[in-house]
Amino acid sequence: MTNTGGMLPPAFLRNGSPSFADFLADLAPDVLTARLLQASIDTSHLAPHGTTIVALRGAFGAVMAGDRRATMGNVISQRDIEKVFQADDHSVIGIAGTAGLAIELVRLFQVELEHYEKIEGVQLSLDGKANRLSALLRGNLGMAMQGLAVVPMFAGFDLDRQRGRIFSYDVTGGRYEEHDYHAVGSGSFFARGSIKKMYREDISAQTATAIALEALYDAADDDSATGGPDIARGIYPVVAVTDIDGVRILEDSELLPIVESIIAGRQRRPDGPLVNMEIQS
């Protein structure tokens, strides 16, 4: 920053965009994450990766859950990493991919939403928030091409439409609205398959939470980079519920009974609950 003898620099007093990221990119780009490395080499092995995030939508709003494992190659680099965060009053963000960059992206996104709200006096629409996340993500494309990809998922309660909505992204910033449920990260194929068999449109927040935890269990069952619930250490997935009243990150004490009943169920049937199948003959 230029030295202005204690006075606020002119950039602060200028009429400008309500975007914090744009302001920072103009004034102090060094504060933002380095956008592009010099060498064009695959650097994906240098930093920990976070894995599976799932989200489900219902009439009540949306539930997002993430496992707690971060890996570097075959090593578990962290057992209790958090990958699901509150973005603002009525939305949540979950991240898979390079953990360090992903957590930084979440931090920037949180400030971006709050900054807009404070400057403009109103919150962005849910679509506006989802679009801002696209723009921030696009800034990371250079890093993604060198193996340090970040793949977020965004969910929230849309106060205008009075329902929960889920958005998924690709590394180029592409934004896709998901109808009912979605999963990202290395265990996402297994999680998505699991949710697909259990999902109904009329689920409650409690049922959605249980389905999300079953799906993460299935992901951990088949994907080595996804962690299951760790009863011995008391580490359970992070679950965020967003509805008309706001966002709630569930307490461990609320999760424990659900996790225990899942584990009890798996002891009877290791592959998880049987889906009622009605075949028309």
Binding site: G5, L8, V111
Partner: protein, 229 residues
């Protein structure tokens, strides 16, 4: 070559100060009070969109009187400064004192360097963990700062209001009592004759120390009517 008229620096400063003071005194008043759970801001403001009271950061609020475009400019700069600091360091590293300093330097420079001073008066309030740690910084148009204890009244009739506050405000008042006091002062002194300001014409917000993270809350007229009854 024409010679510019000589104006004594004392006269120049005095003229600018008089000009700014007059501008500020024309506006409606804002009262900022400390209460048991934090800081209360009360303004008479018929507009729902052009705020005199705003959130700057988790524990910092902003109130201003005077020319809207000028204090809005400072408010936005304050939000930018706080958000940038909080993002570059940590949320806990954003404090009211550094913001008050930045405003003081800015207002001071504008007052001395520019032909027209800003016609604004500002309060930067910060709520602490306990009421002993609450801070009210009052900033004048010329960049002077005062660390106020307990209450501030700004705008038209601010002197009469400050006088009344000195005798009627006391530490440890709760929210309804503080709100009633502020509203009664605006009713008594805000206009030539005493009146009752409708809750819809009041802009009220608090910094509530018991809330997690963002402590700033705006009060709508339903909540206000409830608190004032």
């Amino acid at each position: 070559m024409s010679m510019p008229f000589y104006v004594a620096p004392e006269q120049l400063i005095k003229d600018k100060a008089d000009y700014a003071r007059k501008g500020i005194a024309r506006g409606r008043s804002v009262i900022v009070l400390e209460y048991t759970d934090g800081v209360l801001f009360v303004a008479e403001n018929p507009s729902r969109a052009l705020h005199k009271i705003s959130e700057i950061y988790d524990r910092i609020g902003f109130a201003a009187v005077g020319k809207y475009n000028e204090f809005e400019n400072l408010r936005v700069a304050g939000v930018r400064l706080a958000d940038m600091r909080g993002y570059a360091y940590d949320r806990r590293d954003v404090n009211g004192r550094s913001l008050a300093n930045a405003y003081a330097q800015t207002l001071g420079t504008i007052f001395t360097d520019q032909p027209k001073p800003y016609e604004v008066e500002i309060v930067v309030a910060e709520v602490g963990e306990t009421s002993a740690e609450d801070q009210l910084y009052r900033l004048m148009f010329d960049g002077s700062v005062a660390d106020e204890q307990g209450y501030v009244a700004m705008g038209g009739q601010s002197e009469a209001m400050s006088g009344a506050l000195e005798s009627r405000w006391q530490p440890g008042m709760d929210l309804p009592a503080s709100l009633k006091l502020a509203v009664s002062l605006l009713n008594e002194f805000g206009a030539e004759t005493a009146r009752d300001i409708a809750p819809e014409l009041l802009e009220v917000a608090i910094l509530d120390r018991n809330r997690p993270r963002r402590t700033f809350v705006r009060m709508n007229s339903i909540k206000l009517t409830e608190l004032l009854s």
